[in-house]
Amino acid sequence: MKKENDNGKPRHRYGMVIDLDKCTGCGTCMIACAAENNVSVRPDQSDKERAITWMRLYKITNGKEFPDTEVSYFPRPCMHCDHHPPCVSVCVATATKLDFNTGIVSQIYTRCIGCRYCQAACPYGARYFNWWDAYFPKDKGLDRYLSPEVSPRMRGVVEKCTFCHHRLMRAKEQAYAEGRREIEEHEYQTACTEACPVQAITFGDLNNPDHKVSKLVKHPFTFRLLERLGTEPKVYYYSSRDWVRKLGDNFLPGEYKPVLHKTWMQEEWSTKPGRDTY
């Protein structure tokens, strides 16, 4: 795709690389996300089809017998697909759109008519429907921690991860006030990126060769979820474990090709008995 917009300005393509070797499955990203984006908590969060989690952890296991079992986690935000996002093409109300200048797939709640077509279309289950209004009962006073930067959602609309778009706005305003037109890498980071206590998430502009993400995506251990659908997600994962990478897509038996890359495989690194060895 073009690297410049119609005004000849550089086009940004914000994306994320999540290091699954580092990820400990602690869930801080989920909570940082919910707290940052005014996602309410209802008394029952165990019905995962109705609980709203823009960032959601999926637990996977390698399926091996004790004591060779291993668990790992996929933190899953919105993938912000770069090529014909399935949700955008089906939206009847033009409530969701791929922003050409940032690569962010937006969601405009007041336009959404709640038909949930996008939710059905999304291959990643990243979209959530508000079956109820945001849950902030008056007598609890939980509305006191709500951030004015993000509007709480009403029932009947779909919502999803926005890559903390308001943080981009904040960074841009700051830059403009200081007479700059472009923002630095560290000025715009999503809430989950900042919160991760093991620094497993790297966020930045995939079009900017100086940003860490654009280097990380070239790594042979980097992959994307359901890559072969051709939606070009801008959220990448990184894992040195073969069984984890294998679960990133639906492979037929024998179809998956393990990563064998000399530069990265010079030394034995996977030492645990029962862990994949090549």
Binding site: D19, M30, I31, A51, P67, E70, I113, F136, P197
Partner: protein
């Protein structure tokens, strides 16, 4: 107009065409969207000026640096601080959700209250602070007048050495009661092991950041062990860069494929309670191969080789004991770990440049076993990993000022002579400071409770103790309970009087040396917002209460505010010289000290001001200290053979101290097989309660946010799950999601079955933190609390509960 066929068709077609042309349907669709969305009960958060306040999180003794974003007076988001040495950047999920603890009104007490409903019903009536202090003061004063001040007791869950906990101990002394008890935590096991083997009453300091092989014997590194912010940050550091060139390897010894076990480089699945035997197995291989640190053993260790005491008796040394009893095959039979894996692991330990063996049991909230700690520490000593870079460091405690001495009055002096109800410090429990389960047992065992008034500070013993509900029973018997909790927890619901503390974001408090940290750190939190309800900092309440009890008790508290006490203690930090109050990420405190690090403050007042602003005082780690006077044991050396245990046995007996072995072995690290349980045939399985980082299991409630991170194979509606190996479940004909009753001699709980290959066969794994009966709709009645059915044995010597071996059976519901 007559309705003919022609007219009918014309109107239908006309209508259809008309609808296409008119904007009305589209307008209506749009309007429907707008009408259905603008309900007045969707909150509109007020905007205003944004600001950031730096403080320290005190939800756990880990003490991470936090930055709170505020909009005018409202706190709207908590983030980790990058300018704090413990957790440069991130924080844990509990800390991240902290604002719900502040703002969820139904979780909190909004002011002092007295009970009006039945005990446990949680029905209270607001009273004024004056009234509340008068009721509490008069009650304690009356007991003192009767000459039985020992009928007052305190349960204190504040961190060891914190100013709040010192004030509570002082209050008990001034009142005249020896019955000050604390829930047992991992720090207690560390403290005792450190005194017995190294003679040091100082924090345990693991220099993880400089190590290249970390063998964790049961520490839930990713489940919240130590200072979670520090461990997780180190985890990120260890996994930075090319996986082929990673320098640091992590080995996890644990019975379940927990997050740590899965993410570690090696997972060694030893049975719960046999971690010590495994450490001794490694020691065996190392001794046999001769690759131990002979220099350290000769210069600084006692009891390694066979030795002769002054009376001419020849004693068995650690070497002989380990060579005799802990060969890989023998250890394999105890632990269930393959002999070749033990040999391989020992080889790794010998080959590593700076290996370290660390001991723990999940998080820090529950205690460990003393002999297990000793076994792991013996392994460190054998490899010469004590007082070395990347090993176990031997720092001095924080140089805080002690509180000034005061004179007890006559009543108090008499009361303090009475024996402790829990028998801690007696011949049976010579090294324990307090034993809360014995305390509950003593109350439950007497016809009338010997305790009349119980004060509960920062603790929820009715929920958190692995005692099969014994404390809850004791609470029912105690005539009067005063809770200082800010939250409507299970213990507070049983209270008669509430003197609510502020929530952590509203108060000033201190953090004394986060668990396991290798450098001295004093953290100071400050109020991020003004108290939003009529609550008071517990430190201030204690000072006020002392005055309400009477003049002579009040005289022990010559301060006006809690802050004065904090300041007085912190003066010691200044007087000791050195120390930093600002963190430079380029020079982390675990890196060997650069020449002459500038303190950055001129006077004590200057230091205090900067300490309040930055929330920290710390010193870079002293990696290798001068050996002389380092070990304050009777031998002046590291003691494989603890002479303090020997003395204790001599004045008591091994039987009293629940040690099953005899002779020299009892004074050294060894494996104690659990007593043969007669219930084993009726209860063939073993319960292991496990902890998670995304669920609070201590006295702090889980912020409701945490429930978003709980999988539906951990909690479904109101039922939590027990993880069971598919093979074990198969024997009972159980499938995924089946309802079962987990029954032990202490009781039964209902759970669903989660089939998990990573669970050790024959074990039942239940998460700690579910099953609350207190708090509000978010937490109440969700899942089951395994503590309710734990039947804990007593750890030899220490007497702390052995909560990891409850026999259970499964009954299909």
């Amino acid at each position: 107009m007559k309705l003919t066929r022609r007219n009918f068709i014309a109107s239908v077609v006309g209508g259809a065409v008309g609808i296409q042309i008119t904007p009305l349907p589209w307008k209506f669709t749009d309007d429907v969207a707008i009408w259905t969305q603008n309900w007045p009960w969707v909150p509109v958060p007020p905007s205003g000026e944004f600001s950031e306040v730096s403080s320290v999180c005190t939800l756990c003794p880990g003490g991470c640096g936090i930055s709170v974003r505020k909009v005018e007076e409202r706190a709207v988001k908590i983030e980790g601080r990058t300018d704090y040495p413990v957790n440069p950047g991130g924080i844990c999920p509990l800390g991240m959700g902290g604002l719900q603890l502040l703002y969820d009104e139904s979780l909190r007490f909004t002011g002092p209250m007295k009970r009006v409903g039945m005990r446990g019903s949680g029905e209270f009536q607001r009273i004024t602070w004056r009234e509340a202090l008068d009721i509490a003061g008069a009650r304690i004063a009356a007991l003192r007048k009767e000459g039985r001040p020992e009928a007052v007791a305190a349960v204190d869950g504040n961190g060891e050495g914190t100013t709040a906990s010192l004030l509570i101990q002082r209050l008990m002394q001034a009142v005249g009661s020896p019955n000050y008890v604390r829930p047992a935590s991992l720090s207690d096991t560390y403290r005792m092991g450190n005194i017995l083997m190294q003679g040091r009453d100082a924090p345990i300091a693991y220099d993880l950041e400089n190590s290249d092989l970390i063998v964790s014997f049961g520490c839930g590194l990713l489940e919240g062990w130590g200072a979670p912010g520090r461990v997780l940050n180190a985890w990120g550091m260890w996994h930075e860069g090319n996986p082929a060139k990673r320098k640091v390897k992590i080995v996890q010894v644990e019975s379940r494929a927990s997050n740590t076990a899965s993410k570690a480089d090696y997972w060694v699945a030893a049975k719960p309670g046999t971690e010590g035997a495994l450490a001794l197995g490694l020691a065996h291989v190392i001794i046999r191969s001769g690759r131990y640190d002979a220099g350290f053993l000769a210069e600084h260790a006692f009891g390694f080789d066979d030795w002769q005491s002054r009376d001419g008796v020849v004693h068995t040394g650690f070497k002989t004991l380990v060579l005799k009893n802990y060969a890989p095959e023998q250890v394999s039979r105890i632990t269930g770990v393959r002999p070749d894996a033990i040999v391989k692991l020992a080889g790794m330990f010998m080959d590593a440049k700076s290996p370290i063996a660390i001991y723990g049991k999940g998080k820090n909230e529950l205690n460990g076993s003393l002999y297990e700690f000793m076994a792991v520490q013996s392994l460190n000593a054998l490899a010469g990993r004590i007082n070395r870079v990347g090993g176990v460091l031997l720092p001095d405690p924080l140089p805080l000022n002690p509180l000034p001495h005061f004179e007890c009055d006559e009543i108090a002096a008499k009361g303090l002579e009475k024996p402790r109800l829990d028998r801690a410090g007696t011949k049976a429990y010579p090294f324990s400071h307090s034993l809360i389960h014995k305390f509950a047992e003593a109350i439950n065992g007497s016809r009338k409770s010997p305790i009349d008034t119980l004060l509960v500070f920062s603790a929820n013993p009715a929920f958190t103790l692995p005692d099969g509900g014994a404390f809850e029973t004791a609470l029912k018997k105690i005539p009067f309970v005063i809770s200082f909790s800010p939250y409507r927890d299970e213990t507070a619901n049983m209270a008669d009087l509430i003197l609510p503390d502020c929530v952590y974001l509203e108060k000033v408090d201190d953090i004394i040396w986060p668990v396991g940290l290798q450098y001295p750190l004093y953290g100071l939190s400050k109020p991020v917002v003004d108290p939003i309800y009529d609550t008071r900092n517990c430190g201030d309440t204690i000072i006020n209460l002392s005055k309400a009890i009477g003049k002579s008790v009040g005289a022990a508290f010559p301060w006006k505010h809690f802050t004065d006490v904090l300041k007085e203690r912190a003066k010691g930090l200044y007087d000791a010289g050195g120390g930093l109050v600002r963190f430079n990420p380029a020079a982390p405190p675990w890196v060997a000290k650069g020449a002459g690090s500038k303190t950055g403050f001129k006077s004590f007042d200057d230091m205090w001001k900067k300490l309040e602003a930055g929330g920290m005082w710390y010193r870079p780690a002293e990696q290798q200290r001068d050996w002389s006077w380092l070990f304050k044991t009777p031998s002046g050396k590291f003691e494989f053979y603890s002479q303090r245990i020997e003395q204790a046995i001599r004045s008591g007996s091994t039987k009293e101290m629940r040690i099953t072995v005899q002779g020299d072995e009892a004074c050294m690290a060894h494996y104690e097989a659990p007593a043969q349980d007669p219930d084993r045939t009726a209860y063939p399985l073993t319960l292991f309660p496990y902890e998670m980082i995304n669920l609070a299991s201590g006295w702090i409630p889980s912020p409701p946010f945490l429930y978003k991170t709980i999988f539906d194979t951990q909690l479904l509606k109101d039922t939590s799950f027990a993880a069971i190996h598919p093979g074990t479940a198969g024997q009972y004909g159980l499938k995924q999601g089946d309802l079962v009753s987990v029954e032990s001699p202490a009781g039964a709980v209902k759970v669903r079955v989660d089939l998990f290959e990573g669970a050790m066969p024959g074990r039942v794994y239940m998460p700690l933190g579910f099953g609350h009966t207190g708090y509000d709709e978010f937490l109440k009645g969700k899942g089951a609390n395994p503590n309710a059915i734990v039947r804990a044995g007593e750890d030899p010597v220490s007497g702390y509960p052995v909560w990891w071996t409850t026999p259970v059976k499964l009954v299909k519901a």
